[in-house]
Each structure stands twice: as structure tokens, then as C-alpha cells.
């Protein structure tokens, strides 16, 4: 760069902005830029699943085609008779693009401790597609700044409306709310459902829409599970949920009526890894499970045979918020924070929940390749079915396939 011989002369009266204005504008521009970068980052996310990639491409191509045809039709339309002009004007001529629109969602940029006030520097706005965005969130920073976190909120998580408050304390004092509870606004209640394999009843906790009830009288103390082909919305322990409901008694609960899946049969899954292990025994191999461990504020531990939605919990990468198609009979192992690229992870214990049979020739092969391994991983023999892995859920699919197929593996950090 050349020398600044073009700068302003000393003896001319040079207007100067007020420092406050310059500073405010600077911060606003930086925030705008970050927002823009975040949006670009989301749009540029790699699609690892080939089928999903193809689907997205096809949808995009179809939208472009429809738009082109519509525009062409408009341009080539001959002048309308006067008596039909009014009717034509009221007819929509452009396709609705709500489905591909985006919506701002306030998210944390670092972990926020319970009781910590939200400030601008720990929040950001991420534009989610309307289809995938979480509901019951904030769409502007101003609504969150100055409020206090009710629970520990992981980094890069949407700030749910029910996890912020003006003050943790009320006239009854300052409550002790357990940490590691995510999205506690959903209320659950047990329903009886037959186990198709065993012909006996199991407890399924479903999310009702619009109403709430206390659980302490209706849910057995040892009941923690869940089950079948349902999207995971969130996870927490019953104790956490109960305490939350008790503490928040003065404040009307606001169950999300339009959560991602408003179906009343959406299952809330809560269990410790040990409990999962025990209860998983109650299912045979044909029973697909969705299991979320107690520490599911990190990455959920999932065993499922159906497409599911992995919610953003503690993953620093919004990629985890996209819909992931899990291959049939696959097993996803991960009980701690999903490692970031380059992170060193010492030990993550993953339990084997189901015996996957006939994996020598699985009908559906995992679509995730080994090339995406993003963390140090090692396998340790532990009591037969136990392994130690530190991988992302998607990569665990591949690992499990390799393990079960007895394919030699060499894991490279």
C-alpha cells in the first residue's frame, strides 16, 4: 500500500463523527457481517448423504424450472380482456417460496451458564430454513439481551423462549434448577402402548400439544424410556423436568404447539446409559429404538432404523441440524460432545444396545464414508459388546458397519 500522503491536511476544518456513532456503526456492521457469514456458512454446508444431496439438487432444479415456466408464461401472456383483468390481478402468479425461505433464530456462540445474563457478544442470529428451524425461539437479539439463562445452554444452541427469564429468583427465593436440561418447555405424559414383539405393555412418554400435567404422580420412578420411530425433540431427565415444572409453577408453561413434529405421539426419550442398556434388553432386534442419554445436551445416542432429525444440541456445527437418514439396522454411538475437526478426544464410552444381525450383508449400506472422520478415535475391547469411540454420529454408522462386518479398520486422527 502506498504511503498515506493523501490523508487530510492539518489546517483544514475536517468534520469528525462522534465517537459513539462511529463505534455503534462499527458494531452494527460487524454484527451484520457475522450474520452474513453465518448465513453463507449454512448455505455452504456439505451434504454428506448422497441421497439427500440428490434430493436437494432435484428440488432446487424443479423450483428453478417452475419459476422459469411461470415467468415465461407471464411474459408471453397476451393482453387480457378488460372484463377478466381484475380476476387475473387477484390470482397469484408466483409460486409460494415459504418452504425454501429462512427464519432468523437467536443462537448462543458459546456455552452459557445458568444464571448468566445474555449479552450481545455471546449471541448471534442464524438463519434456518423454515422447514428445519426450531420453534419457540427468538428471532431478534434485543429480546434476549439482558435476560438470564434458566439452565446451562450449550454453545451454538438456539435460545428457547422457556430457558430465559428476567431473573432466576422470585419472591420464594432463588430456585435450584438442575443443569444440563435442554428445551424444558415440552410436557410429557405416559401412555400405554403394546409392544408388538412381546405382546406386553411398555411405557411411552408422548408429548401432548397444548396441555400440561405434573408427572410425579403418574410416572413410575424407574421408568425412563421411550421408544419407536419418532423424531427426537429434546432430552432431559424426569427429575429435571419435574423440578422445572415445579419451579416454574408461577409462570404458565407454554408447550410448543407447533414444534417440529406436533404429533402427540412424538416420543421424549430420557435415560442414563445404564438404564438404556437394561431397558433395551426388553426389545428384540426388530424393534427400532431412539435413545437419548441423560447427558443428551450433548449429542444424542441413537439407535434407529428410520429417518430422524438430529437436533442441534451441543454440536458446534449446524450440519447436525439437518435431517439425517440413518441406514437400516445402523447403530450410532456417541455420548459426549461431538468433537470438532482436529479435536483430541480421550475416551467416549459407547454402549452396544442391540445385536445387529446379518451385518455381513446389510441391505442398506451406510452412506457415510470414512473420509469424514473428524476426531481421534480408538477402539477398546470392553466386556464384549462395549467399544470406545470418539466420532460423530454419522461416522459411527460407518464404524459400526465395519465392526459388525469384521472389516479390518485403521483409524487415523
Amino acid at each position: 500500500m502506498r504511503k498515506p500522503n493523501h490523508h487530510l491536511p492539518d489546517d483544514l476544518p475536517i468534520p469528525q463523527a462522534k465517537p459513539a456513532f462511529q463505534q455503534e456503526l462499527e458494531e452494527a456492521l460487524i454484527a451484520r457481517m457475522k450474520q452474513k457469514e453465518t448465513k453463507k456458512m449454512i448455505l455452504a454446508l456439505p451434504v454428506r448423504n448422497e441421497r439427500l444431496s440428490v434430493t436437494i439438487t432435484l428440488i432446487a432444479a424443479m423450483l428453478v424450472l417452475v419459476l422459469a415456466v411461470t415467468l415465461f408464461g407471464l411474459m408471453s401472456r397476451s393482453p387480457a380482456p378488460l372484463n377478466t383483468l381484475t380476476a387475473q390481478q387477484t390470482t397469484p402468479t408466483m409460486i409460494a417460496n415459504d418452504e425454501i425461505g429462512t427464519h432468523p433464530v437467536v443462537m448462543t456462540t458459546r456455552a452459557v451458564n445458568r444464571g448468566e445474563p445474555f449479552t450481545a457478544d455471546i449471541l448471534t442470529i442464524v438463519f434456518w430454513t423454515n422447514q428445519s428451524r426450531p420453534t419457540h425461539t427468538f428471532d431478534n437479539l434485543e429480546a434476549v439481551i439482558g435476560q438470564v439463562a434458566i439452565i446451562d445452554i450449550p454453545a451454538y444452541s438456539p435460545v428457547m423462549r422457556d430457558v430465559v427469564t428476567e431473573s432466576l429468583c422470585n419472591e420464594d427465593g432463588c430456585p435450584s434448577i438442575p443443569i444440563r436440561m435442554t428445551a424444558p418447555s415440552v410436557i410429557i405424559l405416559p401412555i400405554e402402548a403394546p409392544d408388538p414383539a412381546q405382546g406386553r405393555s411398555i411405557n411411552i412418554y408422548a408429548v401432548p400439544s397444548g396441555t400440561g400435567m405434573r408427572l410425579s404422580d403418574t410416572v413410575p420412578e424407574n421408568a425412563r424410556l421411550l421408544a419407536e420411530n419418532k423424531p427426537i425433540l429434546f432430552a432431559g431427565t424426569l427429575a429435571e423436568l419435574e423440578e422445572y415444572q415445579r419451579v416454574m409453577g408461577l409462570r404458565p408453561l407454554n408447550p410448543p404447539e407447533n414444534m417440529r413434529n406436533p404429533d402427540q405421539n412424538v416420543v421424549l426419550l430420557m435415560a442414563s446409559p445404564q438404564e438404556i442398556f437394561v431397558l433395551a434388553d426388553a426389545f428384540n432386534d426388530d424393534t427400532p429404538l431412539i435413545v437419548v442419554p441423560i447427558d443428551a445436551s450433548n449429542t444424542p445416542l441413537i439407535v434407529t432404523a428410520t429417518p430422524l432429525v438430529v437436533l442441534p444440541t451441543n454440536t458446534p456445527n449446524p450440519e447436525a441440524t439437518r435431517e439425517v437418514l440413518i441406514p437400516n439396522d445402523s447403530l450410532i454411538l456417541n455420548t459426549l460432545v461431538t468433537p470438532k475437526v482436529g479435536d483430541q478426544v480421550n475416551v467416549i464410552v459407547a454402549l452396544m444396545f442391540v445385536d445387529v444381525e446379518d451385518t455381513e450383508n446389510p441391505e442398506v449400506e451406510p452412506s457415510v464414508t470414512m473420509g469424514h472422520v473428524s476426531a481421534t478415535a480408538r477402539i477398546t475391547a470392553m466386556d464384549g459388546n462395549s467399544v470406545t469411540l470418539a466420532v460423530t454420529p454419522q461416522e459411527a454408522v460407518t464404524f459400526q458397519y465395519y465392526v459388525e462386518s469384521r472389516i479390518p479398520m485403521m483409524l487415523i486422527p
Binding site: P9, D10, Q16, K36, E37
Partner: protein, 211 residues
């Protein structure tokens, strides 16, 4: 302000001693501007450096053009928002290209401003602050008065020369950069500048008092 200043500018051009005045500009000098611009496309901190380097010049330019502090603030904000939105599309084409691009945005924004409203008289308390190393109440008033007189005199010039003088003396652009902003030949800029300085000098002599 001595009228001979204008003459010396015309004669010696780039050899004048200019105050850097803008601390952040030094930071920019450290880095190659091109690298900084490339970085600023995706790195908010790099953009922050660019902003700090160019903000005072953009503000000074706009303030001279519109006179009123609140308008200057609005327009400056508009310019930088536009910069954030369009920085991805900026193509670096050599030294001075970024300044020219930036001031072109400011130039168009001011032009748009005047298309939407006619120039109005600016009262003394609406004037922007004036840069000063040791501001005292008296000096602040005096500087604002100087600013107002100088601006009044510049406004007696043709619109084109007003632009050129403002871009040259209050925004620190070189003739080459002004030419890029206004889409003119560099020699035309030099000619306009020379005539503008002569006109200002005559005006000064006619008024018979310092600005």
C-alpha cells in the same frame, strides 16, 4: 487557513505534508491493502480495520457535502452497509481501487440524497464536530465557523468542482482516484482542481477575510 494553501496544493500536489490523523489508517498501512480487503470479505475483524481506516474520510466527505451532522451520519451508515453487502463483488484492480470504489458508493449516495431533497440551510448547531487536537469551547466554535464558511465558498463552485475539491481536500483522494470515482480523465480532474482553487482564492480575496 491561508489561501496560499490551495496554490501550494496545486503546485506541489502529492508532496504536501498531510497529517495521518487517523490512527487506524496506520494499521492498514502495515498490511497490504489488497490482502486486507480479501480477508475482510469473510473476516469481520479485517473488515473492522478497513472500516476504521476509511470511516473518518468517508464521514468527512459526506459531512462537507451535506453539511448537517444527522444527515452525514445517516448517509455514512448507508454507505458502509452497502459496503458490507457488496464487498464480495468488489474486484481489486490496483492501488487506490478500493478507495475509489468506496467513495463512488458515497458519491452516489450523496447524489441520491440530493435527488430526494433540495439543499437546505444548515444551522450552526446542526453542524458536525470538527477534528481538533486540543478542543476548547472557543476553538470548537471557531472551527465550526471555519467549516461553515469554507463549505459556503465551496458551494459557490460548479457541482463538479465541488465534488472534486471535497474529494481531494477532505477525503484525501488522489487525482487518479477522483477520476475513477467521477468517471473522468485524470487530467480533467487536475484542470478542474486548478480552476477550483483559483476560484476559491478569488472568492477569498473578494471576501477579504479568513475562512
Amino acid at each position: 487557513l491561508n489561501p496560499s494553501f490551495f496554490i501550494s496544493v496545486a503546485v506541489f500536489g502529492e508532496n504536501l505534508h498531510f497529517s495521518e490523523g487517523i490512527s487506524a489508517a496506520k494499521t492498514v498501512e502495515v498490511m497490504v491493502e489488497q490482502d486486507l480487503i480479501e480477508q475482510a470479505r469473510h473476516d469481520p475483524e479485517a473488515f473492522r480495520q478497513l472500516y476504521r481506516a476509511y470511516f473518518p474520510r468517508i464521514y468527512a466527505y459526506i459531512a462537507y457535502r451535506v453539511g448537517q451532522e444527522s444527515d452525514a451520519e445517516d448517509l455514512t451508515a448507508d454507505v458502509f452497509v452497502k459496503v458490507v453487502e457488496t464487498l464480495d463483488r468488489f474486484e481489486y484492480r490496483g492501488d487506490g481501487a478500493f478507495a475509489a470504489w468506496l467513495f463512488k458508493i458515497a458519491y452516489h449516495r450523496v447524489a441520491q440524497f440530493y435527488r430526494q431533497q433540495t439543499p437546505t440551510l444548515v444551522s450552526f448547531d446542526q453542524l458536525p464536530d470538527i477534528r481538533s487536537d486540543s478542543p476548547t469551547p472557543d476553538s470548537v466554535l471557531m472551527q465550526k465557523e471555519q467549516f461553515m464558511r469554507l463549505r459556503d465558498r465551496i458551494q459557490t463552485l460548479s457541482p463538479r468542482r465541488q465534488e472534486i475539491v471535497t474529494l481531494r481536500f477532505f477525503s484525501g483522494l488522489r487525482n487518479q482516484e477522483i477520476a475513477a470515482v467521477l468517471g473522468l480523465d485524470e487530467r480533467t480532474i487536475a484542470a478542474h482542481l486548478s480552476r477550483a482553487i483559483e476560484d476559491l482564492q478569488k472568492r477569498y480575496e473578494t471576501d477579504g477575510k479568513s475562512p
